[in-house]
């Protein structure tokens, strides 16, 4: 299996899907001539021309809404929003239109579109450019939200998202674009709505997605050297949420930690902890713990930014604490 970057996996998949289906086209700011702020669409304008790789004005509400309208007529737009922070300007079109049109009109018209956008802090971009607000969208029935953490999942889930008849928010991450992994040569269409157990383990369940899933596997690999067996659940899909996989894991391990790349209050960890207590109450040997960002607008200065963000170290600390709570001698 070839080893390629997450970025390459996205680009190859976009390209292949555009060759496969004439209705698939790309829209976004700076995706054509500039070849994408993060170069995901590099080479695509040259290959497909302006009709299918369309540079838009800086008008998120306007062009995201235009994608919704084009999808209503049966095209399959894949929109790039430069970073998820700017998706807030398109909130109305995503939440009040893309997510509502199928249901609100009694199933007469689906909206087959994809919004690709990266989240991610840790790049010293300051408070407005470092957020992970994908949960705003994961809150909304009618939308599907996926967040792959590996190049293979990026390819498989992007393919699935493009072929899906519903609006899909496809979350990327600035910190993942250069990561590498094996991607099968054959065409794999991922399944939206399914988490994956990416490391099997018996001592503790560690849940994350996107960049935190990557960190979770690193933590699991390191703790294995200390004889701690961590089971890592990569959510991959935030809506629908695969609670079954999480709960089954906790039934095996008896305790869980959730690693979140954004603020704790009202976050995904709260949702998962609630699900675990309802689905695996009798199996729990310790409270579910959450590792999450400090609740501040993310500062620019590196020491402050580093301190505010969850990391492999903070995840490891909380795993130790949880294992001690169930009576293990660790750390």
């Amino acid at each position: 299996m070839p080893v390629i970057t997450y970025r390459q996996a996205l680009r190859d998949t976009l390209r292949a899907e555009m060759h496969r289906d004439e209705n698939v086209f790309l829209m976004g700011e700076e995706i054509g001539v500039f070849e994408g702020s993060y170069k995901i669409t590099e080479g695509l304008l040259k290959e497909f021309g302006e009709r299918r790789v369309r540079d838009t004005p800086i008008a998120e509400e306007g062009f995201v809404g235009a994608a919704v309208g084009a999808a209503m007529l049966g095209l399959r737009p894949v929109v790039e929003i430069m970073t998820i922070n700017f998706s807030l300007l398109a909130l109305d079109q995503i939440v009040n239109h893309a997510a509502k049109i199928y249901g609100m009109f009694g199933g007469q018209n689906s909206v087959p579109m994809v919004i690709r956008t990266p989240g991610g802090g840790g790049q010293q971009l300051g408070a407005t450019h470092s957020q992970n607000v994908e949960l705003y969208y994961a809150f909304v029935p009618g939308l599907k939200v996926v967040a792959p953490s590996t190049p293979a999942d990026a390819a498989a889930l992007l393919r699935a998202a493009i072929r899906d008849d519903d609006p899909v928010l496809f979350l990327e991450n600035l910190g993942l674009y250069n990561t590498k992994g094996e991607v099968p040569d054959e065409e794999v269409v991922g399944e939206i709505g399914r988490a994956a157990v990416v490391r099997e383990g018996t001592d503790i369940t560690l849940v994350g997605y996107s960049r935190m899933a990557m960190i979770a596997t690193q933590v699991a690999d390191r703790l294995a050297e200390e004889g701690i067996s961590v089971e890592v659940v990569d959510l991959r899909s935030l809506r629908p949420l695969d609670r079954e996989t999480i709960v089954n894991s906790v039934k095996k391990t008896g305790c869980a930690v959730v690693a979140e790349d954004d603020w704790l209050t009202y976050g995904i960890g709260a949702e998962i902890a609630a699900s675990i207590q309802e689905g695996a109450f009798d199996y729990l040997d310790a409270p579910v713990r959450r590792v999450a960002m400090a609740e501040v607008p993310l500062p620019y200065a590196k020491p402050l930014e580093n301190a505010a963000l969850p990391s492999a170290e903070s995840v490891t600390t909380v795993i130790y604490e949880t294992l001690r709570a169930v009576g293990r001698r660790v750390g």
Partner: protein, 365 residues
């Protein structure tokens, strides 16, 4: 305050009324009487339909918000006459008349207002969200300005495929102040998209007069920053609207570019059924009633000898029967089954989709 928003010809109440009479052309240059009578009938149907809807609303047969087209009948019929069947229409939430004039059966519109499964949106949309894939009414939208980006996207799809439909996108005067208006006009012009943006200027957004919300209250000029040609038409005159709109629709089709059409008319009642419009002066309310497009058309048709008492009675009766039938149909239609609650969340079935009812446990045994 300077009354810059209103067209010059319409100054004080009395003169406006007179102006309309003076304009009355008893010859209707070459118009076929049966066509004129058909317009008249359509306008009357919308009028009676809306009155019936208001009644049903006050009787609590209709829920939610209910915005009526009273006073806009001539505009609606004129606009819909300008569209071909294959052309697409997007509107705001004040769209009952548009749905009917585009070809949805009044029964299905009324049933939607009643929230019945036979409604045009199967009871999922209500008054503000009528949608008919068959007639290409691609939705009434309750969010002010929400329909504009969508209409631009539909026109983009048309251009992408190289076909020749046109998209009409209706909105109110207040909508010209929202960001989506400006983003959409810019994109439509930049990409040469066949969209007719139609601003229904009833001089008020809820209770706010145009000149208190739009820094350029001559709304047809608001496309000029985007090099979009704007035209103002007397929305009380069905023929003027039809002719102006037809020209723009056909130009959009052949020239591949957007236009902005402002049609002014008077909102005869409050913003919605529940609004008594107390913010209006007595004179303003009277002015609105004096600008009743149906009364004006009736007068012209009568003067031209086209509308006789007999025909008038005949049309009134058939319209009355049609509206009564629509209300009966709605009343006797079934409510949607609760078992269909999860039918329309996703078009593509998906793993782990929640189908939990409020009191259900998260993990069903």
């Amino acid at each position: 305050m300077a009354d810059t928003a209103k067209p010059k010809a319409t100054g004080k109440t009395g003169s406006r009324r007179r102006a309309a009479r003076n304009n009355a052309d008893s010859h209707f240059n070459g118009e076929k009487p049966e066509v004129l009578l058909d317009y008249y009938r359509q306008m009357l149907l919308i009028r009676r339909f809306e009155e019936r809807a208001a009644q049903a609303y006050t009787q609590a047969r209709i829920g939610g918000y209910c915005h009526l087209n009273l006073g806009e009948e001539a505009t609606i019929v004129g606009l819909m006459e300008a569209l071909q069947e294959r052309d697409y229409l997007f509107t705001n939430y004040r769209e009952h008349g548009y749905a009917i004039a585009k070809g949805t059966h009044p029964r299905e519109v009324m049933a939607e207002l009643y929230g019945r499964s036979t409604g045009v949106s199967k009871g999922w949309g209500g008054s503000m969200h009528l949608f008919d894939a068959r007639t290409r009414l691609l939705g009434g939208y309750g969010i002010v300005g929400g329909q504009l980006p969508l209409a631009v996207g539909a026109a983009l799809a048309i251009t992408y495929r190289g076909s020749d439909e046109v998209v009409m996108c209706q909105m109110g005067d207040g909508t010209t102040n929202i960001g989506a208006f400006h983003e959409s006009l810019n994109i439509a012009s930049l990409w040469n998209l066949p969209v007719i943006f139609v601003v229904i200027n009833n001089f008020t957004g809820m209770g706010t007069p145009v000149e208190r919300s739009s820094a350029e209250p001559e709304l047809y000029k608001r496309g000029s920053a985007y090099r979009i040609e704007g035209v103002r038409v007397d929305g009380r005159d069905v023929l003027a609207v039809r002719d102006t709109a037809t020209t723009l629709v056909e130009r959009a089709r052949s020239e591949h570019r957007p236009f902005l059409l402002e049609a002014f008319s008077y909102r005869m009642k409050g913003h919605s059924v529940v609004d008594p419009a107390k913010y209006r002066t007595k004179e303003e309310a009277e002015e609105a009633l004096a600008n009743d497009p149906i009364a004006m058309f009736e007068e012209r048709l009568t003067e031209a000898g086209i509308l006789t008492d007999e025909i008038k009675k005949e049309i009134a009766e058939s319209v009355k029967a049609e509206v009564a039938d629509a209300a009966d149909f709605a009343e006797n239609s079934p409510h949607p089954e609760v078992s269909t609650l999860f039918d329309y969340t996703y078009a593509t079935p998906v793993a782990n989709e929640s189908r939990r009812m409020p009191a259900d446990p998260v993990f069903a045994e």
